[in-house]
Amino acid sequence: MIWRSAFNRLWWTISILCLLAAIAILFIVFAFVAIRGFPALHPEIFYTVTSGIAGGLANAIAGTFLLVSVGLLIVTVVGLGTAIWIVEFAPPWGKSTVRFAIDILSGVPSIVVGYFLYVALVEALGWGFSLMAGALALAIFMLPYVVRSADIALSKVPPAIREGAFALGARPAMVVFTIAFPWAAPGILTGLLVATGIGVGETAPLIYTAGWSNYMPTLAPTHSPVGYLTYVVWTYISQPFAKSHELAYAAALLLMIFIFTTNLLARSFLEYSLSSRGRR
């Protein structure tokens, strides 16, 4: 009997130690990036561009911002459209087909998306390394997150409210824009925030679509490569210079701060909306 309870306690202790280890790893990685990156966060990196092995990060920050913004724009239109169709218009077979396709899309390796767009857009269509190619790569990668969260949020609109609107003579478009959207807005925005964090942290699909540029990005959709933060982390750490290492750590720290902020925002946002709705 004593052995049984000792055994029980032993296993639970191991389990809790595993949890603590997982959290410790997160702190170790974050502390590592923060300790190395914080001293490198000089104000001038925000307004100088990279030059060879050193300089600032202005072009990479602006590029990441631009790529993710355009990607978000595309994914908002396509993703929300897809979710609305699933919830409001699709026949049962259509629902399951599109949901299945979205699940499959979320499992496609990012480098496959990147290489496909490289061959198709950069080479075959002759766009060159460009904003549009990079933004499309991010959009394809973010699509499953946006569709899923919007699908769930729109599906959770209480049937009573939806049916009430229909009973009053509202038609689908009216119901979507005046009933379903306002109700589902927090869930949809959470999905968009999470997608933003994912887009900001992506590298593989951008290397051969957006390319890299030491200059501030232009707004030209094609034929003009764009720099981005994750590229700095990847390549500058392999350079044999302390200056370039500093930039890599600074870029990594900026990425972590941004992604942690969007994640926490998304989380608290969702929890706030859930709790306020519960009280109503």
Partner: protein, 317 residues
Amino acid sequence: MIQRPSRLQRPNAQIALGGLTGIAALTSVLIIVLMLVFLAIYAYPAIRFNGLGFFSGTIWNIGNQYGSGSVTRNGFSAEPGAVFGAVVFIFGSVATSSLAMIIAVPFSIMVAMALVYRVHPRIRPIANALVELMAGVPSVVYGLWGMVVLVPLIARLPGAGSGNGLLAATIILALMVTPIMVATIRDVVLAQSATIFEASMALGGTSWQAVTRAVLPSVRGGVVASVLLAFGRALGETMAVLMVCGSAINSLPQNIYQPVNTIAAVIVSQLESALTDSSGMAQRSLAELAVVLFLITLAVNIIARVALHGADRSEGQ
């Protein structure tokens, strides 16, 4: 007073919204088909040129770019001396991902069980948030940490060489898939009603026995699905692996320290050299690699979804 009905009430608006959103949904589905078909057509000359040697050869050589003449096989030609064998990369992908799962699966189950049964409900949201943050850390940041901290640590082990290799890639992958598995296993266990746990306790078992002999078996399908999804993710992981794997070419690792390479990593690291191949066969062979990776992850994901679906059905009863 009669109010004019909103434009949203017009019949045209219904047709327009249904049509436009239908097009959006169609786009989402077509992207997958388009990617696969396009890559396969682009890779076709390489598929013919490489034949079955692609799956049995360990040598990847884009050929002599300055020589004269060319080699032709099955009607498609490449530079003299060109061979494209993918065994090193296919082996690397499967080996790193499988070993990572061997570490990460028991670890993740332990973490998920602690989260569900041992963390105070009031602290649980914080612990959950931390696990999700771990999933949000970008691939390059894990790679950076792996390069600067993990690889030098491994290099200190006797016989470990540079430290870049199979072991480093495995550890990084295990770290990266853990939060994904923890979150899904936690969710399937929480979705299972507490009755199974309580009934098992009431039969006189200890709480750990209740978990391992009653709760976990009852959510078997969900756990299998989450493991497969994580396996698919590991197979496709690119940047972190690329930064610590040692980018092996033409050689298989003889021990767990030696350099490896994965399909995803080699597509990034070899594209620049492939672009110098004037016959274009190297680029097309990379596309063939992409198709292989696509099909492997597709198969893993479809099996996972089927398992999850079956689990939903049987465990819902």
